[in-house]
Symmetry: C2
Subunit: 291 residues, 2 copies
């Protein structure tokens, strides 16, 4: 599949921010003040789980509507139970509104087989307007170093398609090109280093905004794979800082784990845009099944 | 002032965990189910602000009482308005209880001059029991490297005591010995590196528990000082992961800022115990006054 950004072409009208598949699948509809209906698309499912970054983008859009500021500056999500494709409701609470920052809470809920509402995710976030921030940057952070995309590998490049249980719909919606130096796990030789680096985009070439950055931080294979773990690594909590509006073009993402202890690990992500700006930082606490 | 841990002596009975000043000053009293009274002590004030880590410890203790699990595994706080010494109330909500983890929310409120409740801090946290975790550790993280305490410097070692406006009560309750390599800012020559490393303890020699770790991550001078900024750096949001029960003895803390952009910066902390275990990791988003 040709990636629009890689090919240097402009995005197609159907992949413009606001009207692309990601926008349709994260849309929320106001039901009553502070309460939104959403439909969790099966298109963002991997194995049997709806991706946590996709879910966070839905919550993030509900809060963007409920609060007077448009962009999440810092958003923390605690994952309580496994979301399922299908209807969901987001209930928001405005905690505080200020001139430059507003704070809100949101819960994503679904009905169980008996019709009872079950909470899936609780979020606490502070919002502002990234377009109003000064350009001043003082950073010692260096952009993620990656070989060019044509020397990197994605799920579509696997030498033989090993069928995975459940769905691989999620990877079909992404443009992932991972640094081969961080892909030892895929060949049965994990590096033990706990780092994965990748080019990241949406398969339809949609450019990025703060909400697709929430997806970008949680879209790569778990760092735990490079640590030699094989099992599922469910997120307990994920906090994302959005630091700047991303420039058009592909992103570079690095995720890193330093400490796996007592059955838990942290996974840090940093996301750089095509203008070499650090546009998002995140950290999650996840459970590891030790083997 | 001799530090009990430094001198290798055991702590005095008055500085035992549970009965020391830190425990008294972070105590919460159940008023009704889920609601706790607290008294914000002026002893944890620096300049005119009550320290954010001290406040987080109060919220953390209220949630430890309200939830079925004793220890914060991951706790996120959004700071909404400036707390004042004096009475406060903590209102908790149990979001979900599970076998190994429980999630709760908490708000710290104080009354303004008109008697209206004003929210100071909102917290979202997942709790577990650190004493039940397996000992398994796989880490690439290395303990914070520091000269011995007698070659490090604290507020008491300043060559001339420059009076600071407001209170310096906070620093009197701490045993801080900072690596001179990270103290350029105090001599008017900030390194530009955005890192400060320090020994950390409580002045009365109280050993550490998960709640004093919440203090440890937010107790050093701002990294922004080493970046050459001079003004106040108020915390917007602080997330702390407690990864293990700390061993007795002094802690080592490193705080690092990589990216200052658009008037905001992140500050990462890691805390190591005397047994060379990474016991806490944190990240905060703070506002910087650019100068």
């Amino acid at each position: 599949m040709a990636h629009a950004a890689e090919a240097g072409t402009s995005t197609t009208p159907s992949a413009a921010i606001g009207s692309a598949e990601f926008d349709r699948d994260t849309a929320v509809t106001l039901r009553e003040p502070g309460v939104y209906d959403a439909e969790l698309s099966p298109g963002w499912t991997i194995i049997n789980a709806v991706n946590g970054g996709y879910l966070l983008a839905i919550l993030g859009r509900a809060l963007a509507d409920a609060l007077p500021h448009p962009h999440p500056f810092t958003i923390s999500a605690h994952y309580l139970s496994a979301s399922q494709p299908g209807p969901a409701v987001v209930r928001t609470e405005t905690v505080r509104t200020g001139r430059t920052l507003s704070t809100g809470s949101a819960a994503l809920l679904q009905r169980d087989a008996d019709g009872h509402e079950v909470e899936r995710i609780r979020v606490l976030a502070s919002y502002g307007d990234l377009s109003t921030l000064p350009d001043d940057v003082r950073t010692t952070a260096r952009p993620v170093q990656l070989p060019p995309p044509d020397q990197c590998f994605g799920p579509q490049d696997a030498p033989e398609q090993t069928p995975i249980p459940g769905s691989s719909a999620f990877t079909e919606r992404l443009w992932l090109k991972m640094d081969p130096a961080t892909l030892g796990w895929a060949l049965g030789a994990p590096s033990g280093k706990g780092e994965i680096r990748s080019w990241f985009g949406l398969a339809d070439g949609r450019d990025h905004d703060p909400f697709s950055l929430l997806l970008a931080v949680d879209a790569l294979p778990p760092t735990a794979f490079e640590l030699g773990l094989k099992g599922w690594v469910p997120t307990v909590e994920l906090t994302v800082h959005i630091r700047a509006l991303p420039a058009p073009g592909p992103l570079r993402v690095a995720i890193t784990t330093r400490n796996l202890a007592g059955g838990f690990l942290e996974e840090d992500a940093e996301v750089w845009d095509s203008a070499d700006r650090l546009v998002a930082q995140s950290r999650q606490l996840a459970r590891a099944k030790l083997n």
